[in-house]
């Protein structure tokens, strides 16, 4: 976790220094969306090689999926309410 924060911070400094170089920034955005796919592939690899997960995926999978959906749904509903009340009028652009 500390490594990740350090790396973000290092990137932040690079980005701040080169913020006027719009082509460099645009290229960085492209690269990070491509790496996302690689990241999911490697997440798949680590799930696939984990024997205890693969052996139990059918019996425990449904229950686990239910918990995931319930917690995500709860978060989304609360976030939607909070967003409408506190955040909607804040002007931000993409």
């Amino acid at each position: 976790m500390y490594e990740i924060i350090t790396v973000i911070f290092a990137g932040g400094i690079i980005g701040y220094i080169f913020k006027s170089k719009s082509r460099f920034i645009m290229l960085s955005e492209k690269i990070y969306s491509l790496i996302l796919f690689l990241l999911l592939f490697s997440l798949g690899l680590s799930v696939g090689k984990n024997e205890s997960v693969m052996n139990n995926i059918s019996s425990l999978g449904l229950l686990s999926l239910g918990i995931a959906i319930a917690t995500v749904a709860g978060s989304v509903v609360c976030a939607w309410i909070v967003y409408r009340i506190f955040f909607k009028n804040i002007k931000t652009d993409k």
């Binding site: 990137g11 999911l40 997440l43």
Partner: protein
């Protein structure tokens, strides 16, 4: 939406490749995911750094409201787990709340939970939190579109500071990245405390 489908395909391809053992052992056994994540984070950092001025403006306009974001994610998660417990009779409410309190941080939460409550619950925690992370990755564009820009951040939970950050940034706008990192960091720090508290006290 197109990106989400491609993302799922890559994930499934990863599982299949691991099963077919076409990937060299050295890649599987190394901290592959983590290294990719670090490279990814470097680029996220660059994009955030380029937006620093606008992000500062956003934090100034948000003020104390930024604290609402992790609080919302926690409240929503626990309410969701509580509601779900009505449908599951074979598990105590506290177990479900503890699994939910992993907030997608599957490695740590599954280790904590299996130490306190045993292997089986640990595996459920692992699967549920992996599923949450994947849900965050896959549905972020849809959530941002229909439920406001905080929804994907709350849905991603602790992973909004790392794995889900890139997709959140691209679907909510770069200046929400700072909120996302803040919320994810708070939740990540809280995971071990909340799990221990719920399982020991309740």
């Amino acid at each position: 939406m197109k990106n989400s489908i491609i993302a799922i395909l890559f994930f499934v391809a990863g599982i299949i490749c691991a099963k077919l053992q076409v990937v060299p052992e050295c890649v599987l056994n190394s901290d592959f995911t983590f290294h990719i994540l670090c490279i990814q984070m470097l680029f996220v950092g660059i994009c955030m750094g380029a937006e620093v001025n606008r992000s500062i403006l956003l934090i100034k306009s948000l003020h104390v409201r930024i604290l609402l974001v992790p609080f919302t994610a926690i409240t929503g998660t626990l309410l969701g787990a509580l509601l779900f417990s009505l449908f599951v009779s074979k598990m105590p409410v506290s177990d479900l709340l503890a699994i939910g309190s992993g907030f997608g941080y599957y490695s740590l939460s599954s280790i904590y939970i299996s130490e306190i409550r045993g292997e089986t619950l640990g595996i459920i925690a692992l699967l549920a939190n992996i599923a949450r992370e994947i849900t965050g990755l896959v549905f972020t564009p849809l959530l941002a579109k229909y439920f406001g820009k905080l929804a994907p951040i709350a849905a991603a939970g602790a992973t909004s500071m790392d794995t889900c950050l890139p997709i959140i940034t691209s679907s909510t706008g770069k200046n929400y990245a700072i909120i996302s990192v803040f919320s994810g960091t708070v939740l990540t720090i809280l995971v071990p405390f909340l799990i221990t508290f719920i399982l020991n006290v309740m």
